[in-house]
Every structure is written in C-alpha cells, then in structure tokens.
C-alpha cells in the first residue's frame, strides 16, 4: 500500500498541470486571481520554512524576518538607487541569507526550543526597528513601490496573469529546492538530527553546521517569496513584513499541512490562504474578529484530528482504505503487505529511499507523555 516514487512524480505533474490551467476554467474574476496568486506567494514562504522547520525539526516562528528582508530590500533598492527588481529580488535573498547565518550562529548551537523562541522575539524586534527607523523603511506609513510602467524586465506586468505564473514558477522552483535538500546527503543528516540530535552528533554529523546551512537555504527561499510579494502588492509596512500575523501564518501553513513532508506546505497554503482571503472579504459585514475565529477553528480542528497535519491525515485515510481493500485477496498478498509494513516501520530511512517523504510515524512507541 505504498505509492511508488514514479506515481508520486506523476501526481506532482498533474497537480502542476491543474494549477497552471486554473485561470482558464476556474478563475473567472480578478479577485479570485489575486487570491490564488497570494496563495502561491505564501505557499513559497512556507515551502522555505519547511526546509529548516520541517526537515530539520527546528520550528521557526520568525520566518517573517526573511520574508520582510526580501520585501524591504527590493523595495528600498528600487526606490533609492533604481535597481532592477529582479536583481533586487536576488539581493533580498542574499541579505536574508546573511541575516539567517547571524541568527543561526546565535541560536542553533542550543536546543530547538531556543530557536523557536528567538525567531519569534527577533521578528517582532525587526518590526519595532522598521517602525522606528523610518528614514530607510518609511516607518509605520510603509513603503510604496514606484510605478515605472509595464516592463517585464523590471517585474512590472500589465496583465495580472503574469504575476500568477511568475508566482507559480517560483513555487515550483522552491519545491524543487526543498526536494533536492531532502534527497541529498544534507537531507539525510537533517533527518538524523531531527530524530535524535545527540545520536546524530555521536555518529559524526556536524549538527550545528548542517542546521546553519539549511537555515540559510530556507531563508533564501522565503526571502524570494517576500520580494515577489512586494512586487505584486506594491506596498509593505512593518506589520505586514515582520508582524506576528505573518510570522505565525508562515509556520501555521506548514504545520497544518504537515511539517517535514514535501507536500505539507503546499496543501496547507492551498487550503488556509484562500479561506483567510475569502473570510476577509465575504464576512466583512460581520464584526471584525469573526473571520479570524472561523479561521482559527478550522485549523484547530485539523490539528486536533492529527497534530502532524493534513498529509498525515491523508496518509492514515489511504492506509485504512488500502487495508480494507486487502480483504478478499489471497493470504499470500496479505502476508506480503504485512511484511512490507513491518520493514517500513523498522527502517529508519524508509521514506527517504522511497520517495522523499519523511517517516510516517513508524515509531510505534508512545511518547513520554510530556
């Protein structure tokens, strides 16, 4: 009852095909187009988040730091020295990588929980600083991108459909980066660190350096999403760059979808971002706050059903369904499938060999209750 990696690849292509043709059969209004474009942008942010937080188990509640640096860098460079927006995007990514290296150097030597608390505290610090030092960032008023006419070479498109495809293209690139990390030696070492950091170090994994390198890659991907956001929306302020809402949003998309799985952030963003956007607009005649209550209830219910997220839920459903379909087959096949299951549970790297997905809770021991 295991999806082969080939089947998974086809599945990915089908999903991509659907996403690429959406504007031709589902998306009929500019509002929906902008909802889906924003979904792709936050999807990319969360795909980046997943690289360090999902694959490496170092949960960040401050990836908005990198998102914000990506957005502000391109905006500031563009409005002050009129730098090309695509180059600005690259600069934003590189600057965010440097910031990530500094934050990582500070926190990744410690246990994961320090990383979580620090990233959350630091992103709000950046919000305060961006508010205070207004000469560079425009302060609380925010920064608006100068409009320079329709020039694709400068990330300015006349047709909004272009932003849709650019954002989708970046999601695909981000996904491929995440997949490459997961399949590489780095990915294996990360998984060892996530499972048991002490054991990984004892077997020669340079855990600090591995985590640091991973954080840099992760920050770069999320920074690109920030730069694309800036180019698409054309406006940024400290709250929408570094604020608690963005900070937690990026993590929530990944956690609800399934941290540590390739498809988790994709699924999480595909469900939660449109939900949020629709609630913001359609329920706006209700008192403010009701939309967030609905949003929170939805993701609490999902996590209540399975704290590991949607991918884990789907996997359980699939397995259940597979088990049921075994009834009525010959005993050999049943025995064989049971044997397969046992080896899957026993092999530490089972998922990695198969298709680049993390272990599906093969560890049957109950948690220590803490």
């Amino acid at each position: 009852v295991k999806i082969s990696s080939k089947a998974r690849g086809y599945l990915g292509l089908v999903v991509l095909g659907i996403a690429a043709t959406l504007p031709f059969w589902l998306i009929q209004s500019n509002f929906v187009l902008s909802v889906v474009t924003l979904t792709f942008i936050f999807m990319l942010a969360s795909v980046g988040w997943n690289i360090i937080s999902g694959f490496g188990g170092q949960i960040s509640f401050g990836h908005s730091i990198f998102f914000g640096f990506g957005a502000y860098t391109t905006a500031i460079l563009q409005s002050s020295i009129n730098l090309n927006a695509w180059l600005g995007l690259l600069c934003g990514g590189l600057l965010a990588t440097v910031v990530a290296a500094l934050i990582g150097a500070l926190t990744l030597r410690l246990r994961g929980i320090y990383f979580t608390l620090s990233t959350f505290a630091l992103t709000l610090t950046f919000a305060i600083l961006a508010n205070h030092y207004g000469s560079l960032t425009g302060g609380a008023v925010g920064l608006t991108l100068p409009f320079g006419g329709t020039r694709p070479a400068n990330f300015q498109f006349g047709n909004k459909l272009w932003y849709y495809y650019v954002a989708l293209g970046f999601v695909v690139l981000g996904f491929l980066v995440a997949k490459a990390v997961l399949r590489s030696r780095l990915g294996l070492q990360l998984r060892a660190i996530k499972d048991d950091e002490d054991a990984a170090r004892a077997s020669g994994v340079a855990s600090f350096r591995i985590k640091l390198a991973t954080l840099c890659i992760s920050a770069f991907v999320t920074a690109v999403s920030g730069a694309v956001y800036m180019q698409y929306v054309g406006f940024i302020d400290p709250e929408s760059a570094f604020g608690a809402t963005v900070a937690t949003q990026i993590a929530i998309l990944g956690l609800v979808g399934g941290a540590g799985t390739l498809w988790g952030p994709i699924l999480g963003a595909a469900i939660l971002v449109p939900l949020q956007q629709l609630l913001n607009s359609s329920l706006s005649n209700l008192p403010s706050g009701v939309n967030l209550i609905v949003y929170a209830v939805v993701f609490i219910v999902i996590l209540w059903v399975d704290p590991r997220g949607l991918v884990s839920i789907l996997r359980r459903v699939y397995r259940q369904w597979g088990r049921r379909s075994l009834v009525g087959r010959g005993p050999d096949q049943v025995a064989e499938s049971a044997a397969n299951k046992r080896t899957a549970a026993l092999s530490i790297t089972g998922g990695a060999m198969g298709g680049g997905e993390l272990h599906d809770g093969g560890d049957e021991s109950t948690p220590r209750g803490r």
Partner: protein, 296 residues
C-alpha cells in the same frame, strides 16, 4: 540620579508582574514541555476579567483575584485536557511532533481569544478607574499605589508558588515527574494529573497577574501579544524551566524596559529587552542564574 532611581523602581514594580506570569510560563514548559503560545492571552483574559467584574459588579480587583484565579485554573485545565493532551494520545506520534502540534494548537487558541475579545469588547482600551489611585512621594521618588500593591501581590503569589514547589508533597510529585516520569508513575504518581496541575497553576498565576495589572494598565484584546514576547524573553533569561530564575529575570526585564524607554526612545522599549535577550543567548544561554533549577 533622581530619574535613574525612578527608572529602577518603576522597572522593579512592573517587573514583579512580568516575573509572575513568566514563572507561570516557565513552570508549564519545565514540567509539561508545552510552549504555550497563548500565554499572553491569559494575561489579557485576567485583565478583562477584572474590568468586567469591576464595571458590572463593582468588585474591587483585589477581591476579584479569587474568582479570577479559580476561573483561570479551570480554563487552564480545560485547555490542557482538550488541546494539549490530544497531541499526546495520538498513536505513534513522536514527542517532537506532539510538541510542534501543541505550539500550533495554543497559537490557534490565542487567535480565538483575541478575536473573541475583539468581537465582544471592540478594539478600544478599557481601564479600571478610581481604585488604588493614590500616589506617594518618598524623597525624589513618586510611587503609584496601584503599582506598589501589584508588586506586593506578585511577590506574594511567587513566594507561595515557590514554597508549594519546594515544601509540599505536590511539589515533590511535580519535581519527581520532571526528573523521571516513568519512575514517578512507577511509584504511584499520576503523571497526567501532575501535568494538568502544573499547566493550570501556571495559567492561574498568569490570570492573577492580568487581574492586578488591570488596576493601572488599560486592557485591549491585543495587549497580550506584547506580554507573550516579554514572557518568552524572560524565561530564557531566567533559564528555561527555572521558576525562580524567571521571577528574577522578570524584575530585570522590567528595569531594562523602563531604562530603554527613558534613555533611548519610548517606542524602542521592547527592542531594549531583545538586545539583552541576544546578549544572554550569546553568553549565558543556561540563564542568568545558571544551574540552580528549582523544578528539576
């Protein structure tokens, strides 16, 4: 010198409350390993509880401590049993996945509380007027009565917590569970009850801090977010899981915050705390007090 003394005293007085709700957070983390992203919102709930009881029943916030403490305790138990415990009962889940699930679930609860309060009370600040309004002068110092009383209550609550942890059988059970929960359950300690109890006590302390804070600080639905960050910084400075450390660090954080507000810029007051936080991470990640852990 007058300003400086005033800064230190103001910082200490507000820091007492920071210390109180931070020791609640560190108690919860130290024992249950839950990173409670809704912690600041329990401060907010305490504040709104005090405001509502005062405006509807004219209940003095100092008297309201009792019902609010009980309500916070029960709410804590409810959150633990419905949200946190759920993550631990999923078959085959790893301890790490459970912890990450708890972060997201408490964050969801936090959004529920802030949005719920926003729907119920609107965004405008609410305060309690006419209670503990006196100001005393001692030499060059101005002392607000509300802040003095708040500090006294924070100190009292903390001392009770400390004695409870170190001198009672419950405290012994809690410390035993932290040391080795398998062993603890073998000698007959109901470890789940220990977790619920610690979580509820941590929330109770936080609710009390909120109630007292409301006597001089206006309540808004979003006010808790700032307190959450302060609590995060404080527990790291005090050493994660170190209850006494969190209280002392709370005092220090209060002073740093006041000093930054006075000498640098008022809107940078929390940035000052974060600079201190980064320095602590760099030089004393085990906390300012080092290895002296009360709960472990």
């Amino acid at each position: 010198v007058g300003t400086f003394l005033q800064v230190v005293v103001n910082g200490l007085l507000v820091g007492g409350l920071y210390g109180l709700f931070s020791s609640g957070l560190t108690l919860i983390f130290g024992i249950t390993r839950v990173v409670n992203f809704a912690h600041g919102d329990f401060v907010t709930l305490g504040m709104f509880g005090a405001v509502v009881l005062f405006t509807s029943l004219h209940l003095n916030p100092l008297v309201a401590i009792l019902p609010i403490a009980v309500a916070a305790f029960l709410l804590g138990a409810l959150v633990y049993q419905t949200l946190v415990r759920r993550t631990l009962t999923i078959p085959g889940i790893t301890a790490m996945d459970a912890q990450h699930g708890q972060m997201a679930l408490t964050l969801g609860f936090s959004i529920l509380v802030t949005s719920g309060l926003l729907v119920a009370f609107g965004p405008s600040p609410r305060s309690i007027n006419g209670v503990l309004d006196n100001t005393y002068t001692a030499g060059v110092l101005y002392l607000s009565q509300a802040r003095l009383v708040a500090f006294g209550i924070a100190l009292l609550a903390f001392v009770l917590l400390y004695l409870g942890l170190t001198r009672t059988l419950y405290g012994k059970a809690i410390r035993g569970t932290v040391d080795d929960n398998d062993m603890a359950s073998m000698v007959g300690i109901n470890t789940n009850r220990v977790y619920v109890l610690s979580f509820s006590v941590g929330i109770m302390l936080t609710g009390i801090a909120g109630d007292v804070l409301a006597t001089y600080y206006p309540a808004t639905p979003l006010v808790g977010q700032g307190f959450l960050i302060i609590a995060f910084v404080t527990v790291v400075m005090g050493g994660l899981g170190n209850v006494a450390g969190a209280f002392y660090a709370g005092l220090l954080v209060g002073i740093i915050q006041q000093a930054t507000a006075t000498y640098v810029a008022i809107d940078l007051q929390n940035a000052g705390i974060f600079v201190a936080f980064v320095l602590v991470l760099l030089f004393r990640p085990q906390g300012l007090l080092g290895g002296r852990r009360v709960t472990a």
